[in-house]
Amino acid sequence: MPTFEYAPAPESRAVVDIPDSYRLWIGGEWVEGRGTPFPTINPATEETLSTVAEATAEDVDAAVRAARTAYTRIWSRMSGTDRGKYLFRIARIMQERARELAVLETLDNGKPIKETRDFDVPTAAAHFFYHAGWADKLEYAGLGSSPRPHGVVGQIIPWNFPLLMLAWKIAPALACGNTVVLKPAETTPLAALLFADICQQADLPPGVVNLVTGAGATGQAIVDHPGIDKIAFTGSTAVGKMIARSIAGSDKHATLELGGKAANVVFDDAPLDQAIEGIVGGIFFNQGQVCCAGSRVLAQENIVDDVVDRLKRRLETLRLGDPLDKNTDVGAINSERQLARITELSAVGEAEGAVRWDTGCPLPKNGFWFRPTLFTEVSQSHRIAQEEIFGPVLSVLTFRTPGEAVAKANNTPYGLSAGVWTEKGSRILWMADQLKAGVVWANTFNQFDPTSPFGGYKESGYGREGGRHGLAAYVRKGTQQ
């Protein structure tokens, strides 16, 4: 072997047992769905993993009724201390079954095992641990002396972080005393269905968590159901707007976590090697299918060539391939549809005059794959600089002054996250103040912690998840009578 080739180091699939078909999990029981069952596939191989039930409006109604019963009879009467015990138990079981969850998530989503193993699963467990701690301390969270739960919460989550988004939604809802009807994304339902098993193992009272699988129609049934007190949605801005329209005039509450077009702003005094790492992590983590992905680099014009050279050299070392291989950095795109969108927008970028570059690495024959791609000479008016691509495609733009950097960073309909790279502390604080983004990372990117609120400005949605702010989305503020 003349060069250092890393031999395959695949994680074993044997830890996961995937049944041929799944039903809906309602009222603590597995029940048949009334709709047409649909397959869920491994996007890295296009192999069918299992068949999943489709929940109709009737099924959703059953789930909401089960949640209501659990709410009025059990969960809303239980002390915070006891609710916390269940959440702690769930968190511990998630840790115990971490390997199983990681492998299943990688199979169903296509993301690399090193991400599910080192990020998705540990962070999901951390959210349960964190919110378990809040369950008996809500009166001290600054949400009034007697914060009350909403009741039944309808939650709709995306396919990019199936388990983690579930944790972001379910953990605070349950900690605050709500019960839940949750719909996982139609391309990635398996993590949620394994979570049902974890709830059973934790002896969670029936109906506190209900899982309905299906696509848009199922989601619409949740949004439209009169028995739902609050909607929590993470996904595209288009769907978010539909939800906002549907619930307008009703007394449903909502939090929406939508798209983004984040900028990583790199000043000429930045710690350059770490900035490159941050940019690469910011856009190629999870194949760029991250709402807060740093899909634009705004590099100061006097260093842009150096930044681009370094980026290219770094991208050459990314390893694309079998997501179960522990050395894989870039996995599969989640679905054929998403791949088509990434392909289309990249073609538009080229057609509009931006310069396209990719690593040229070989792609596996089956499955949905897209090479890490870099666009230079991108202008603010190019579609690839405005629209969320939601894939491993990075656009490099330049700026001359801090003011111009802020103007360009803010000049999108979105406002979810941003990154600032400079060794100058005062500039970091000034930038954080100017950037219209829910999260501003300084000399780092894509850091998530349950204690830190996450959410957007403008078309990136409203409401926060995580931290004390995240609790506010799951309670009605109140004062003791």
Binding site: M1, T3, F4, P271, D273, Q274, E277, K326, N443
Partner: protein, 334 residues
């Protein structure tokens, strides 16, 4: 000869810095103009490299490469000719049970033991590296440091491992550090015009910050060091992965700027095969394939060889042997 080398390196340094005379102010402006290193990001990068999973054929290949990159080291007050002979013999026959085991690159000793090591190693191709310049503290006059170096070279040392004046570096007296490296480099030249390769020990454990490590790396390369080396092994922390990452970035960027390769040698604290392989992954992914060769990368280590051989035996036998199956000529005297 010696004057021309000094002049060449000074001219190149002035040229690189774009100044008419090398001064502390010019060196400070240049070194402080290098991009900073973010500690958190640098350590995260190193931790990421550590998660690479190197198995089967790759592991076998990496173990042999790592063995061939070792500077097998003994640097103790209690070193005797017997111990040095034993260590040199060990380098010749690293594993008596398997002659296919590669030899380390060099044996690293104090200057007064060079002749002993040389005698045993003969024309085997295994080098003798000598620590010099009032190792490990470097607290001596330049004359003493140069005499120390010349003696080791005259005794047959193929490589000289010098220490920089950390006190001068921390005080901002970069010119003194630079001048001393240039002078020692000059003293590495033999009568026939050939020269011992110079490794510059920065003692990163005393420099503390990654910014300092980056600056010291560039200063050492500017002064003509053939290798930049982390540590003496006498100060903790010694060779950490993040420090080595910063140094690998330095030699990579220096190569991009000048077109010349400089070697990297982490030394001290690397004891297991797993650690060594993480360093090789870092070399591969940061500096690149060209550095995966013992001309450009070394491990300064004493006990690492034992673990590499243990793992090598395990990979060929399928089972672990044990310490008593690894011939060891340099066990601790205490």
């Amino acid at each position: 000869m010696s004057t021309s080398t000094t002049t060449d390196s000074a001219a190149r340094a002035r040229d690189l810095l774009g100044v008419s005379g090398l001064t502390n102010r010019a060196l400070a402006a240049w070194l402080h103009g290098l991009p900073g290193v973010d500690q958190v990001g640098c350590e995260a990068r190193a931790a990421g490299l550590k998660t690479r999973s190197i198995k089967t054929d790759s592991k076998r290949w990496a173990i042999d490469l790592a063995i061939s990159m070792i500077d097998l080291t003994t640097l103790e007050g209690a070193d005797t000719p017997g111990k040095v002979r034993g260590l040199a013999t060990r380098a010749l026959v690293p594993d008596p049970s398997d002659p296919s085991t590669p030899s380390p690159a060099a044996v690293c000793v104090y200057g007064d033991m060079v002749a002993v090591a040389k005698e045993t190693l003969g024309e085997s191709g295994i080098g003798v590296a000598a620590v010099a310049t009032a190792f490990p503290s470097g607290r001596a006059s330049l004359e003493v440091k140069l005499a120390d170096t010349r003696e080791a070279v005259a005794a047959g040392a193929d490589e000289i491992d010098m220490v920089i004046d950390r006190g001068a570096f921390l005080a901002g007296d970069y010119l003194t550090v630079y001048d001393q490296i240039v002078a020692v480099k000059d003293a590495c030249t033999r009568a026939d015009g050939s020269a011992a390769r110079l490794k510059v020990i920065m003692e990163t454990g005393e420099l503390v910050t990654y910014d300092n490590v980056r600056r010291a790396s560039w200063l050492s390369m500017l002064a003509g060091g053939d290798f930049i080396k982390t540590s003496t092994g006498k100060i903790s922390p010694a060779a950490t992965l993040p420090v080595t990452v910063v140094m690998l970035e330095a030699v990579r960027d220096w190569h991009a700027l000048i077109g010349e390769m400089v070697g990297v040698k982490p030394a001290g604290g690397i004891r297991t095969s797993k650690d060594a392989i993480s360093f090789l992954v870092a070399v591969h992914e940061i500096a690149g394939e060209d550095w995966l060769d013992n001309t450009w990368f070394r491990f300064g280590a004493s006990s690492l060889l034992n673990d590499l051989i243990l793992q090598r035996q395990r990979m060929s036998l399928g089972v672990y042997s044990g310490a008593d199956y690894i011939a060891d000529d340099a066990p601790s005297a205490y």
